[in-house]
Amino acid sequence: MCGIAGALGMNAQPVDPRNIERMVRTLGHRGPDDCSVLVDGEVGLGHRRLSIIDVANGQQPMSTADERLWITYNGEIFNYVELREMLVAKGHRFATSCDTEVLLHLYQEFGPDCVHRLNGQWSFAIWDSQRREMFLSRDRMGVRPLFYTKSGGMFLFASEIKALFAYPDVDRRLDAKAVDQFFTFWTALSPRTMFEGVFELPPGHSMTVARGEVRTFEYWRPDYEVAEPGLDENAAAERLLELLVDATRIRLRADVPVGAYLSGGLDSTVITALIKRFTTTPLRTFSVAFEDPQFDESTFQDDVIRYLETEHESIQCTAAEIGRIFPDVIWHTEKPVLRTAPAPMFLLSKLVRDRGFKVVLTGEGSDEILGGYDIFKEAKIRRFWGANPDSKMRPVLLRRLYPYMKNIQSQPEAYLRAFFRTSPEDFANPFFSHLPRWELTAKLKLFYTSELRSRIGAFDPIDELRDELPKAFGTWDGFSQAQYLETAHLLPAYILSSQGDRMSMGHSVEGRFPFLDYRVVEFAASLPPQFKMKVLNEKYLLKRAVGGLIPPSVHKRKKQPYRAPDAVSFFGPGRTTPEYVEDLLSETRLKEDGLFTPAAVNRLVTKARTGQELGVKDNMGVAGILSTQLLVDQFIRNFRYDHHAERDTPVRHRQLPVRAER
């Protein structure tokens, strides 16, 4: 696992290696083991390495023996062993046992179509020095990040935006439309990022850059058409388990020890159990515990540890600690967040790293692909009730929603009905499942200044998203539509990045996600929705598939999403508010930045300081406004590419000779 960066002169102008060095200097956390830069005329490739497979021989940028193809690559191809065998049979010769070299040869053999054969998580750039063309690609689910921009006639790409900003004279401006997406969908949606002119290569996409032209194309997307309508439940459960076992098995391929995150929920328990029961890998597990019992899942974690007999360690996370590290968290997420939930994951990856582990397996992706989220359940109940709005009994089901949320549970009956009220005409709305969430979040727009409002103008994020839905969307059932919205957007843009890659790679730890093996994803998408949520039993098929493998308490427990203390991490009686918070939310600073109305923010802060229990919206307001201010501070006002340069490893430079025949 690694960090990549590079530049390509759109008019064949040469690249200065020092500029590529500046880019990779920002990515030390992604790859502390090695740092190198290759320049070939108008192209520069930079690489930071976290050595995992073939530790001795895997240096990058790596080339084919004839030095025609060069690659800089971040990720893992889990089926590289099988691909290598296939390529050897076709006459390819290998110098290393590294997946990087397999990827190079696979590209040599199949060109851009090679990505269809990959099972893994990747972002890479391959430079064809003969054709003077670059090919870039990102994995199907968006596990590994890839950003790009154009500046001063150069095409620039990198694993993280900070590397793009390290290149001289790249504009750093907040994108007002992205802010508006954030205060609707909880994240900017790719290809947009929080910064104007900086784009993300969306999951399942590749791109080519050649002769001054950038072309982006989609090579994969999930499809929810039911494949075998008559499929028997038992057969489906067996097939799911088989796929998961194999997905886990190939994700344990590494030349370094592998750990697992254990939340105490179903998904991470399943992964831990599969490692334990179906492989011989010695296993260490890690978890977060909270001082506040409403977030803490230690009891369930203990059950799993006892049942599966793993060697386990946890960190105790406090609200004050979250408040303290939040600026570092945003430096890594490079986007604002409405929850502080990424912060404990950042602390956890530090523990893992301190214990000498570079790789962890986690249960990420299961809720999206196998139907675990409460938003799916909520939509199902609303649909059921909406079909018969006068029913007295149907809305009683609303109490089954969000059992872990005190505010919702203590809601008067009449209000619960009013909040979730639905009528049949809403059914046709493609965003039926998500509109209540988006509308609630959008209430935070009342904090916008008139200046920000006018920068956003007539832009409507929901209209834009509607125009970009896949053609098949309308043919999918409502449950699958909701799954698609989570899988295509929030999963890559928040779960796998802000809470995933960025938090683990912040401490040089690589996450691997068996549920996101594309074979599992495709199989799950092809199942009828009632296999995923049977009546109101979430992740039904998964529970059925893993029945005897996990502790009964975890099998039976009600779903509790992973959450962390939000506003109380910064404000409250007895809490010393960190100085940076006072500064960034001060009237002067808010006025200068011009995004949020100081008087309104002040009222929200005053409310938070009282220590009264804040609602979802107010908590999201505190985290969202503060993190946006932090983003502006760290990436626009006071950006420094050389934060950690002084204690960084030396850079290896190589320059290819100028080619006469060009």
């Binding site: 008067p412 009956e413 009449a414 209000y415 009013a418 309104a600």
Partner: protein, 87 residues
């Protein structure tokens, strides 16, 4: 009293941003002013400010869903209290 309630709603739910006209008869639910926690905050405010206690069956939009409705409801509660009934 109507002004006190109005001020509470504007400060607490709109964070003082009253530029978008809030009518005294506007539904809190329809305008999205009050979310799932908001109604609990509103109840806590009424109970502590006016020293009345609100029974579960009174927690309905008919009593609580606009500035007008809340003031009328509180008036009724206060009258009942001074008459020594309903507590």
């Amino acid at each position: 009293m109507q002004n006190e309630i109005r001020q509470f709603v504007i400060d607490n739910f709109l964070f003082g941003q009253s530029d978008r006209q809030l009518g005294n008869s506007d539904s809190f639910l329809e305008s999205g002013i009050i979310d799932s926690t908001g109604v609990l905050e509103l109840i806590a405010f009424i109970e502590s400010k006016y020293e009345v206690s609100i029974a579960d069956e009174e927690l309905v939009p008919a009593n609580l869903d606009s500035i007008d409705r809340v003031s009328a409801f509180v008036e009724r509660k206060l009258q009942a209290k001074s008459a020594g009934v309903g507590q």
